[in-house]
């Protein structure tokens, strides 16, 4: 009987069971984020449905894999902007990915090339924050890897499914405007752990006025400016308050 059980699946405590447990943990950590991102996915899906070249617009869901950048590109295409302006609009928003990727690169340096490639391809705001949280906890490289992929693949599949569904439904449903706050609240829950250090609080404190200033002046590069200001402010404060 025991032999049968073992043959059917991984025994408790085996590496395979631990990997599955970590992947499930990652997926479970990501599920609330998917709920938070659902209204935003509906907005992106509606923008896809409104395009003349719907297949191209939809392909951006997994090619660009960033809702804000995809919306910026589709908006620029819709308003008849030139190619350079359209590409710049998307790239400025996605420039933060370089920061996320560079921050996680040291954690991935012992991984095989295809693992690093896949992990980086699935990287976005939420996966970065969840990965950093997991990497600060005890665990082996294998456990962390499976947690990351559990979370990242859940987000990727969920995001593409939600945007595709919204694009197919088109204008047959309407998202309550108040639900637009769900995605910022989702990110808020992820950013709070970083506020426990003086440097983290400083970086967050400077990002708020930069965001307000960028909104008032309608500056597209606000995100890049916030990241740069946050980096400088965090390091300056940590320099004054060494650990």
């Amino acid at each position: 009987m025991t032999a049968l059980l073992v043959a059917r699946g991984a025994a408790p405590g085996t590496p395979a069971r631990r990997r599955g447990g970590e992947a499930r943990r990652g997926a479970m950590a990501m599920l609330p984020m998917l709920v938070g991102y659902a209204p935003f996915a509906a907005v992106v899906g509606a923008a896809v449905a409104a395009q003349d070249e719907r297949l191209a617009a939809w392909a951006g869901t997994w090619l660009i894999y960033g809702g804000a950048a995809q919306l910026a590109v589709l908006g620029a295409v819709g308003s008849g902007s030139g190619l350079a302006v359209t590409v710049a609009a998307g790239m400025v928003i996605n420039a933060r990915l370089l920061v996320y990727s560079a921050a996680l690169a040291p954690h991935w340096r012992t991984e095989r090339r295809w693992v690093r490639t896949l992990a980086a391809a699935l990287l976005t705001d939420v996966t970065w924050a969840l990965a950093l949280r997991r990497y600060s906890e005890p665990g082996t490289a294998s456990q962390r890897r499976w947690y990351y992929f559990g979370a990242a693949l859940t987000l990727w599949s969920g995001w593409v499914t939600m945007v595709t569904t919204a694009a197919i439904l088109g204008d047959r449903f309407e998202v309550d405007p108040g639900l637009g706050l769900a995605a910022p609240l989702c990110l808020l829950s992820l950013v709070v752990p970083a506020l426990r250090t003086p440097g983290g609080r400083a970086s967050a404190a400077v990002a708020v006025p930069v965001a307000i200033g960028a909104a008032v002046m309608a500056v597209d590069a606000g995100l890049v400016a916030a990241a740069a200001a946050g980096c400088v402010a965090g390091l300056l404060v940590e320099g004054r308050n060494p650990r």
Partner: protein, 107 residues
């Protein structure tokens, strides 16, 4: 303009941004200040992504602005107390909805 061309170019660019550090800089670790600076930059980017869309929601009118402020404060309070993300989202949306409704009634 060709939508395909724009989407593919931004997609390739985004992919390059994601892949460059782990593929080409994997052999060394960042010096500590760079490592910390990257984390702070990432934190600031996340905060921007919290604030900028919230400001967009608040621009609709003053009841909505009051609702957004209340929702974000409720969410922040719960997140600081260590509540789960789903509770932060639900309570924040609920708080925003209630305050928007109340502000609308007040006029």
């Amino acid at each position: 303009m060709n939508t395909w061309l724009a989407v593919v170019l931004v997609g390739l660019g985004s992919c390059a941004l994601r892949l460059a550090p782990p593929l080409f800089a994997q052999r060394f670790t960042w010096p500590d200040p760079v490592d910390r600076g990257l984390r702070h930059a990432g934190t600031a980017a996340l905060v921007y992504l919290v604030v900028a869309p919230a400001l967009g929601e608040a621009r609709v009118g003053w009841p909505q602005a009051a609702g957004v402020a209340a929702g974000m404060l409720v969410g922040l309070a719960l997140a600081l107390r260590g509540h789960r993300a789903i509770a932060v989202i639900a309570a924040g949306l609920g708080g925003a909805w209630l305050v928007t409704l109340a502000a609308g009634l007040i006029g």
